[in-house]
C-alpha cells in the first residue's frame, strides 16, 4: 500500500492520473476500442471483425474432429492435459451482489457492520442468472444507500470511521476536494479505476447542492449515496470484446481481482489486490496463486466458508429446523447456534488446513462448545481452544467422526418429531454425491401408511418397506433409503442411540444399489468416503460456485482433472479452490453466443 494510502487510511491508493499509465482508465479494456489483455501474447488486430483466432492446442493435443475452434483473443488459456475438447469458459451473466456479498462489501468499503442486507428479500442463489433485480430490492438498495452514506459520513466527522472516505479534508466550498472524495470512493465501490468522464452524473449532484443552497459537504454525502446505488456497485460488470462478443478472452486484472475476492471472501478486493491489478500482474500465475493463498488465510475467508457451506452442504437449513420441544426438551436456539458453529468451523478447517478432501467424511476432530459437548456426550478435556471460540476436540474412532456425525446436518434432515431417513438419504445423494434423485411422480401418496391396528409400533425400516414393494418408488428409494436407515443410530437431534423411540433396537445395515453391503453406520460411512462421486461432486460444486453458473459438459474435463488430483494426491479443499482459480475457466470469459 502506498504511503499516501496508509496516511489517508484508504484501502486503495488513490488512482491519480499517473497510476494508470499502463492501462486505460476502464481497467485495461475500453469498449469500442478493441482490447489488450495485460500480458497478452497475441495482439488484437485493430480492424474489427478479423480477430486473430488462436485455436486452442492443449498440451495433450486436440482431436481433429473440432469443427469450429472457438475464437480466442489474447493469451492462450492453459487447460488440463486431459481436455480434448476446445476450451470454453462458458458465459456468466452480469452478476449482482447477493445479500451476503452486499453486507460483506459495505463492511469492507465503509467499515459498516450493521448488515443492512438482512432486511433484503431472500435472493440466496449462487447462480448469476437467478440474481435478478426486482423493484422491492432496488428500493431496499435505495434506502440502504442513504443510511450507509449518512452513517459513514457521520463517523468520518466524528473521527471514528475505520475506512477513511476523505483523501482530502472537505469544506463547504472546496469543489476539488469534493470531486476527489467522490472519485476515490467510486474507484473503490466500482472495484476498478473510473475515468472522470464517467463520474459526471455524480458530480452533477454537487452542483445540485449548490443550487439548493447547501454546502458541498451535503452534496458530497449525497453523491456517495448515489455511488452506493450505482449499477457499477450493485453489479460486477465484466466486459466483452465489442466486435466479437462471444470471443474467449482473458479477464482484465480488475475483473480477476473481483472474481478472486468474491470467490474467496464473498466481498470486494482489498488494497493488495487492487495494487496488483493496477500493476497488471494479477494474471501472472505465481502472483495469482500467492494472492489466493494469502486470501485463504485471511479472516475474510469466512465469507467463502459460510456461503459455500450453505450451497454445498446446505448448512443454512439448520436455521429452518423445527424440533418439537415436547419430544426434544433439550432443544434450544442456543443449541441450534452451537450446531451451526460446529459445522461452519469444521468446514473452515478444511479450507484452511491441508486435510484430504475425502477425510471430511471421517475426520478425527471436531469443534464443540460445552452445550454440544453435553449433547454428544464428548468431553471437551484434551481439546484445544480455537479462534472461533469453540474447542477443537480430538475424536476417537467412532460414529461422531466426519460430517455425517454432525448434529446440524442430522437435525435439519429430520422431522419435528422424529428422524427422516428418506430426507437424510436424499441429502447425502444430492449434496455429497451430486446424484439427487428426481422428485416422486405425481399422484403418489407420499404419506407413510399408519401402522396396522394392533400390530404394535413399527420401525423406520418397516415403514419404508413399502417403497421396495412399489415399483414406482423402488428405483429411487433403493438409493435413498439404505443411506437414511444407515443413519438411524442418530436421533432427530443427531444424538447417538441404539434403540428407537419405541425402544426397538436399531438395525442400520443395508445394501446400496452398487451392491456394497454394510452392517453398521461406520461401514456405510467408509463406503461413502470411497465413492468416486465425492470428489467430482465437490469439484463441480466449487466450479459452479466460482463461476456463478451451472456446469456443462465442456467443464467436465476440469472437474474430472481436479477430482483426480484430490483422489491421487490426497489434495484438500483449498487445493480444489486453487485448481479452479488457476484454470482458465476462472480467468477467461466470453460473451453470450449469439444464435
Amino acid at each position: 500500500m502506498s504511503a499516501f494510502a496508509k496516511r489517508t487510511g484508504l484501502l486503495f491508493p488513490l488512482l491519480l492520473a499517473g497510476c494508470t499509465s499502463s492501462l486505460d482508465t476502464n481497467g485495461g479494456r475500453r469498449p469500442g476500442g478493441g482490447q489488450v489483455a495485460p500480458g497478452a501474447t497475441t495482439e488484437t488486430p485493430g480492424s474489427p471483425g478479423t480477430p486473430s483466432a488462436s485455436p486452442l492446442t492443449p498440451p495433450g493435443g486436440m482431436t481433429s474432429a473440432v469443427v469450429t475452434p472457438p475464437v480466442v483473443i489474447g493469451p492462450p488459456p492453459v487447460v488440463p492435459m486431459t481436455c480434448t475438447a476446445p476450451f470454453d469458459p462458458g458465459f456468466t451473466p452480469l452478476r449482482r451482489m447477493s445479500r451476503g456479498e452486499y453486507d460483506n462489501t459495505v463492511r469492507d468499503l465503509l467499515g459498516d457492520t450493521t448488515a443492512p442486507a438482512r432486511a433484503f428479500p431472500n435472493d440466496d442463489s449462487v447462480i448469476a442468472a437467478n440474481l435478478t433485480l426486482p423493484q422491492l430490492l432496488f428500493e431496499k438498495y435505495f434506502d440502504a444507500a442513504k443510511t450507509l452514506a449518512t452513517d459513514a459520513w457521520a463517523r468520518q466527522v466524528a473521527g471514528t470511521q475505520t475506512v477513511s472516505l476523505w483523501p482530502c479534508t472537505p469544506s463547504a466550498t472546496d469543489l476539488t476536494c469534493a470531486r476527489q472524495i467522490v472519485s476515490s470512493f467510486a474507484t473503490r465501490a466500482f472495484r476498478r479505476p473510473v475515468p472522470e468522464s464517467d463520474l459526471a452524473p455524480y458530480f452533477a449532484i454537487l452542483s445540485k447542492a449548490e443550487t439548493l443552497g447547501d454546502s458541498l459537504e451535503v452534496g458530497t454525502k449525497q453523491a456517495l449515496r448515489a455511488v452506493l446505488l450505482s449499477p457499477n456497485f450493485i453489479y460486477r460488470p465484466e466486459f466483452d470484446v465489442p466486435e466479437t462478443p462471444d470471443a474467449i478472452h482473458q479477464l482484465n486484472p480488475f475483473e480477476i481481482a473481483s472474481r478472486l475476492s468474491y470467490f474467496l471472501w464473498a466481498s470486494m478486493p482489498d488494497a493488495g489486490l487492487f495494487d496488483l491489478a493496477t500493476q497488471g500482474t494479477l494474471s501472472n500465475p505465481e502472483v495469482l496463486r500467492a494472492q489466493a493463498n494469502r486470501m485463504l488465510t485471511d479472516p475474510r475467508s469466512v465469507g467463502f466458508v459460510e456461503k459455500f457451506g450453505a450451497y454445498w452442504l446446505g448448512i443454512s437449513g439448520i436455521e429452518n429446523a423445527n424440533p418439537d420441544p415436547a419430544i426434544y426438551p433439550t432443544w434450544s436456539e442456543e443449541l441450534r447456534a452451537s450446531m451451526a458453529a460446529e459445522t461452519r468451523t469444521f468446514l473452515g478447517a478444511f479450507v484452511h488446513e491441508p486435510h484430504p478432501l475425502r477425510s471430511s467424511l471421517d475426520a478425527n476432530f471436531t469443534f464443540l462448545d460445552q452445550r454440544l459437548s453435553d449433547h454428544y456426550g464428548i468431553s471437551l478435556s484434551g481439546g484445544t481452544a480455537d479462534p472461533s471460540g469453540l474447542t477443537r476436540v480430538p475424536l476417537p474412532q467412532g460414529v461422531r467422526m466426519g460430517l455425517l456425525g454432525h448434529a446440524s446436518l442430522l437435525t435439519m434432515n429430520s422431522k419435528a418429531t422424529e428422524t427422516a431417513p428418506v430426507r437424510r438419504g436424499k441429502w447425502v445423494l444430492g449434496n455429497l454425491l451430486c446424484s439427487a434423485p428426481p422428485p416422486p411422480p405425481p399422484n403418489i401418496d407420499t404419506t407413510e401408511a399408519p401402522p396396522m391396528p394392533g400390530s404394535g409400533p413399527q420401525t423406520a425400516r418397516e415403514r419404508l418397506a413399502i417403497h421396495r414393494a412399489d415399483p414406482a418408488c423402488a428405483g429411487c428409494h433403493a438409493a435413498m433409503d439404505p443411506v437414511g436407515l444407515g443413519l438411524e443410530n442418530f436421533d432427530g437431534l443427531g444424538r447417538y442411540r441404539s434403540v428407537d423411540s419405541n425402544n426397538i433396537p436399531i438395525d442400520p445395515s443395508g445394501m446400496l444399489p452398487t451392491g456394497e453391503a454394510f452392517t453398521t453406520f461406520e461401514e456405510l460411512r467408509s463406503i461413502l468416503k470411497s465413492d468416486p462421486r465425492i470428489t467430482t461432486c465437490a469439484a463441480s460444486s466449487v466450479l459452479t460456485y466460482a463461476l456463478a453458473r451451472s456446469t456443462t459438459e465442456s467443464d467436465s474435463c476440469l472437474t474430472t482433472d481436479l477430482a483426480t488430483k484430490a483422489d491421487t494426491a490426497n489434495s484438500s479443499l483449498s487445493d480444489l479452490l486453487l485448481g479452479v482459480i488457476e484454470s482458465p475457466w476462472f480467468t477467461f470469459r466470453r460473451g453470450e453466443k449469439l444464435p
Binding site: L94, P134, L136, P201, N232, G430, P442, T447, E592
Partner: protein, 462 residues
C-alpha cells in the same frame, strides 16, 4: 404464548384510530379514484395443499354447507364464493420440487415450471393485471409473504435441478423474473405509507387557513438527483455491455423509473390513482387512516394478521390495487403451537394428520374471514365498500396434501369486483383450467386481454 395471536388486531397498529389525512405535497387522488370505483385484486396462496374432501362442499349453489375445515368462513359466507372443479395440471409437469414448488409458482402463472438451475415459468396474473391497468398508484403491485423461504441445499425439495425460488414466490413479472416479496410487515407498511403523514384535511366552511407558501422539498430534490445520476451511469454502462447483459440492466432502469414516481420529482402528487401528475387539491377522505403501522416483532400468527391489515389499508388508501400474499412457502414446516400442535405443518400434518390439517386450514380461513370483514367495513365515498370493489383469490398450491394432484384445485373468492362477481355460492367448473378463473377475475378488475396462460375462455362468476 399460545393465545398471543388472539390479541385485537388493532393492537398491532398503534394509533390506528387517530384522525389522519394527507399533507398537501402528498395529496393523493384516492378519493377521486374511489369515487370512480377503482377495483382491486389480491391473490393469496396458503401452501401445503388441501384435499378436496376437506374443501369441496357437497352441494353447489347458494344453499350449501361449508366443510368442517371451512366453518370459520361462516361469518362471511354471503361475501365469499367457494369454487371447485378447476384444474391446474399444467403446473404439475416436470414434478418440480415434490410438486409443491411447481404448485406455488404455478398457482398464479398457470405455466409449466421448467427444471434447471434457473427458473423458467410464466408471467403471473397479478403482473399481467398490474401492467395492463397501470393505475399510477404509489405501489404498482405489492408482494407480501411470511417467510424468507428455502434456499439452495437446505434439505428441501429444491436445489439440484429445481430452483428454490419456485417455492417462495407467487408473482412473476416474466418467466425467469420472480417479483420478490416483502416479509416484514413493518417494512411493507413503511414502504407503502411513508410520506402519507397525518395532517388533517382542511375543514369545510368559510375562511380556510391560507395555504403555506410552497417550499423546496430538498429530500425530494436529492432523491431525484441521485436517481438521475444512477440512471445516467446505468445508460453509460449499458452501452458497453453485451446483448443479454444489456437486457439484464433493463431491470435496473425499470426500477429507477418506478421508484422515481414515488420519491423523485418536485412535489407532484405521487400517491393515489388517477392521472399521473394530475395534481391540485383533492378532498381527502377520512377513510384513509394508516396509523403508525405494525410492530417490528410479531409471532407467526400476528404476522398473518398484520399482512392482511397492511393490504387492507393499502387498498383503502388506494396506494396499490394489485397485491399477492404467500402464507408461508412451499412445504412450509411451521408448527402451529397456538393450535396445540407439535408436528410440522407440511411433512407431518398435511401428510398424515387430516384432523390437525383441518384445524390449520380452519385457522387460515378464519384469518381470511377477518380480512374480508375488514374490507367490508371500509366504506368508500360512493357508498360502496372496498370489498365491493375487490376480487380476492384464495387458493392453495395443490389439491390433496398427500397425493399432490392438480385437478379440483382448492379456491375461494371474496368480493364483488364492482358487480362482476356474485358471491354467496358454491360454484363448480368441472375440469376447466384455473387460468380461466384468473382471466375472468382480472377482466372484472380491468384487464382487456382475452386470454391468459393456458386459458380456454372465461367462467361465469356473475
Amino acid at each position: 404464548m399460545r393465545k398471543s395471536w388472539k390479541i385485537n388486531r388493532r393492537w398491532l397498529f398503534a394509533g390506528a384510530g387517530s384522525a389522519l389525512a394527507l399533507p398537501l405535497l402528498e395529496q393523493m387522488n384516492f378519493a377521486r379514484a374511489q369515487a370512480n370505483g377503482a377495483r382491486r385484486y389480491l391473490g393469496i396462496c396458503m401452501p401445503n395443499g388441501v384435499p378436496s374432501e376437506q374443501w369441496v362442499p357437497a352441494a353447489t349453489g347458494a344453499n350449501y354447507t361449508l366443510t368442517t375445515a371451512q366453518t370459520s368462513l361462516e361469518v362471511v359466507k354471503s361475501d365469499i364464493m367457494v369454487v371447485s372443479g378447476l384444474s391446474n395440471k399444467i403446473a404439475e409437469q416436470n414434478g418440480i420440487g415434490s410438486l409443491h414448488y411447481g404448485g406455488v409458482a404455478g398457482l398464479l402463472t398457470c405455466a409449466v415450471p421448467q427444471p434447471g438451475s434457473s427458473p423458467v415459468i410464466g408471467i403471473s396474473i397479478d403482473q399481467v393485471l398490474a401492467n395492463a391497468v397501470r393505475s399510477g398508484t404509489r405501489i404498482a403491485s405489492l408482494q407480501l409473504g411470511l417467510k424468507e423461504g428455502t434456499t439452495v441445499g437446505s434439505g428441501a425439495q429444491c436445489g439440484a435441478g429445481t430452483p428454490c425460488v419456485y417455492g417462495r414466490e407467487l408473482s412473476w413479472s416474466g418467466p425467469s423474473t420472480p417479483v420478490l416479496k416483502e416479509i416484514s410487515a413493518k417494512a411493507a407498511f413503511d414502504r407503502i405509507f411513508t410520506g402519507v403523514s397525518p395532517t388533517p384535511a382542511p375543514p369545510p366552511g368559510p375562511d380556510p387557513a391560507p395555504a403555506p407558501a410552497p417550499t423546496v422539498d430538498k429530500e425530494r430534490e436529492y432523491n431525484q438527483s441521485v436517481l438521475d445520476a444512477v440512471r445516467a451511469d446505468a445508460q453509460l454502462l449499458q452501452a458497453r455491455l453485451g446483448a443479454s447483459d444489456k437486457e439484464r440492466l433493463e431491470q435496473y432502469l425499470t426500477a429507477v423509473r418506478e421508484l422515481e414516481l414515488r420519491v423523485g420529482g418536485s412535489g407532484l402528487p405521487t400517491g393515489g390513482g388517477g392521472e399521473p401528475g394530475g395534481g391540485g387539491t383533492v378532498p381527502i377522505s377520512s377513510g384513509c387512516q394508516p396509523g403508525t403501522g405494525p410492530a417490528a416483532t410479531l409471532t407467526y400468527e400476528e404476522h398473518v394478521a398484520a399482512m392482511y391489515e397492511v393490504i387492507a389499508l393499502a387498498f383503502q388508501c388506494d396506494l396499490t390495487r394489485v397485491a399477492t400474499l404467500l402464507l408461508g412457502e412451499a412445504e412450509c414446516d411451521y408448527v402451529f403451537r397456538s393450535l396445540g400442535q407439535g408436528a410440522v405443518w407440511h411433512e407431518e400434518v398435511s401428510h398424515g394428520q387430516p384432523q390437525a390439517h383441518n384445524e390449520i386450514i380452519r385457522w387460515h380461513l378464519g384469518e381470511f374471514a377477518k380480512f374480508v370483514m375488514r374490507l367490508k367495513g371500509m366504506v368508500e365515498p360512493g357508498g360502496t365498500t372496498v370489498l365491493d370493489q375487490s376480487a380476492v383469490f384464495f387458493g392453495s398450491d395443490v389439491n390433496d396434501g398427500p397425493e399432490h394432484t392438480f385437478t379440483d384445485m382448492p379456491v375461494i373468492l371474496a368480493g364483488r369486483a364492482g358487480g362482476a362477481i356474485n358471491p354467496g355460492r358454491h360454484v363448480r367448473f368441472n375440469g376447466q383450467p384455473l387460468a380461466n378463473l384468473h382471466l375472468t377475475m382480472a377482466q372484472a378488475v380491468g384487464l382487456t386481454q382475452q386470454s391468459f396462460a393456458n386459458s380456454t375462455g372465461t367462467v361465469n362468476l356473475a
